[in-house]
């Protein structure tokens, strides 16, 4: 339809529609969202986390030359300067040109948290069973400012939640060692940013971001879409109006 369609579509869909309408303006790097009145403290804390979590690996990963996957199609020419038309990159087999940056231990810790957020049930597997930690690793390893911010928040947050576990349940105890009940005791305090106490707010922002990325990682898989009974993206011979059961659900006469 139109070239600006993705702006409207993003707002219309469930994607990002609640807190983060994706517009061209917000695609620019924005400040980390800071909630509450004492943001200077948390800013400082973030800075400390950034220093603690930053590694040379995060900055040194070298993407391959842009356009390396673009083939040139020769065209018949009479002008020796003519060079044909560029082809699109292969989106069926996309190339991820950066290296993953999370350690095996961080991935193990992340897998536990991902499954606290999306556990297996009778309809679908857990988030880690469909590769959520690897998805998050790819995301936070990307050499773009927003991704790097997420990398700092998540790596720092994994340290935070282990330290919180030790404070509550004994020296050396990590989040992954806790019982489900104990894990929920911590998560209940950080699962909603506006309700989090000041001392937990950093943890709450970390949890919110992991939930955001875990949700994307899980529901965009075949297993996630099947759970939701997503039935689109198929060739249609004709376009049908909503079926009668949908109209009935909406209180409309079929």
């Amino acid at each position: 339809m139109s070239e600006e369609r993705d702006v409207a579509e993003a707002r219309m869909s469930d994607n990002l529609s609640v807190v983060e309408p994706l517009t061209r303006a917000t695609k620019r790097v924005t400040e980390l969202p800071v909630v509450g009145a004492t943001h200077m403290d948390r800013r400082h804390a973030l800075k400390v986390m950034a220093i603690a979590a930053a590694t040379p690996g995060l900055l040194s990963c070298e993407p391959s030359a842009p356009g390396a996957d673009i083939a040139s199609v020769p065209a018949p020419t009479s002008n020796p300067l003519a060079k044909g038309t560029a082809a699109d990159p292969d989106l069926i087999a996309p190339i991820v040109p950066w290296q993953r940056s999370l350690s095996a231990d961080e991935l193990a810790a992340l897998a536990v948290l991902c499954d606290v957020i999306i556990p297996a049930d009778e309809r679908s597997p857990s988030a880690s069973q469909v590769g959520a930690p690897d998805f998050i690793d790819e995301w936070v390893s990307a050499p773009y400012p927003r991704n790097e911010q997420d990398g700092v928040l998540i790596r720092g947050g994994l340290l935070w939640i282990d330290r919180e576990s030790a404070e509550r349940f004994g020296q050396g105890v990590r989040f992954r060692d806790l019982t489900t009940e104990q894990q929920h005791a911590i998560c209940d305090d950080i699962c909603f940013v506006p309700d989090a106490s000041e001392r937990n707010e950093l943890g709450a922002r970390f949890f919110d971001r992991v939930r955001y990325l875990t949700s994307t990682a899980f529901w965009t898989t075949t297993e996630g879409m099947s759970d939701l009974e997503y039935v689109g993206n198929v060739a249609l011979a004709q376009w049908d109006p909503p079926p009668p059961e949908v109209l009935r659900h909406l209180g409309l006469e079929p």
Binding site: S2, N15, V231
Partner: protein
Amino acid sequence: MLLPPALATGNLDIITDAMVREVTVNAQGRATGVHYIDRTTRLDEHVSARVVIVAASALESARILLNSKSGLFPDGIGNGSGLVGKYIMDTVGAGVGGQIPALENTPAHNTDGASATHMYVPWWLYQEQARGGLDFARGYHIEFGGGRRMPGFGFMGGLAPFTEGSYGAQFKEDCRRYYGSFMGFDGRGEMIPNDDCYCEIDPAGVDQWGIPTLEFHWKWSEHELNQARHMQHTFAGIIDAMGGTVTGTVHEDGARAIAAPGQIIHEVGGVIMGADPRRSVLNQYCQSWEVENLFVPDGGCFVSNADKNPTLSIMAIAWRASDYIVQQLASRSLG
């Protein structure tokens, strides 16, 4: 889409990776070709032509013309009117999203194609406007939709305000419940060109190809700002009438409601057409008033910018200009 058949004629060569710097002219004031920088070799190249057609999209076309300075055209080729770069426009945009409880737990069904391709609200307040009931001129249409779409990046990532931050089994249940219950409304409206929206060569700016860049000046009029505010309040009213909750902010200040200039990427104007050489750059065939073998058949020629997307109009205008060029070449009036 149009290039393969054009290539098949054997009369078309395409030179890619070419950043055009300027249109060249001879002593008689006719366009002779273009200089460009080869992006791969970084060398300056020249191609000569009987007719030069600049269709680099509105603002870049204005930039090329302004950068084509010569003794005959000290302010840029074809810019005797001083209007190249003036009266640039974008589309007025504003939107609001909402969550609609009635749409929760909707039975599974395929909603592909149920938004923009099958639902559309054209401007509907002509009569109220004619009665003086609105604080802006011109109108807008509504693009809206929602539905059980394919989950993409960010899916349900913003659910926390509705669920007080649920996680675990409850989060999974909430995602199933809320799936397909969000709707979005976006307005796309007409901007009226004004004296304060223009671009010019930035005396201090140059890109990596050594080509001077543009500096932009922009000021919405009250018409656009009031229209954007009207959009947001209208959409919030629709969501409210559906029993839903607005998920964004509805602004009283139109300057906060309106999308940033350039954000809707419908840049047009800057090389405007008209009937009077003193008040326009091009004639009705996108032909320069001053350089008869120079044409600019892209969005630059627009003197107004209706609420609809400009692409199809650009194609129609380019088609008409092309027919004219072919006819003029055939009758030896050109080239």
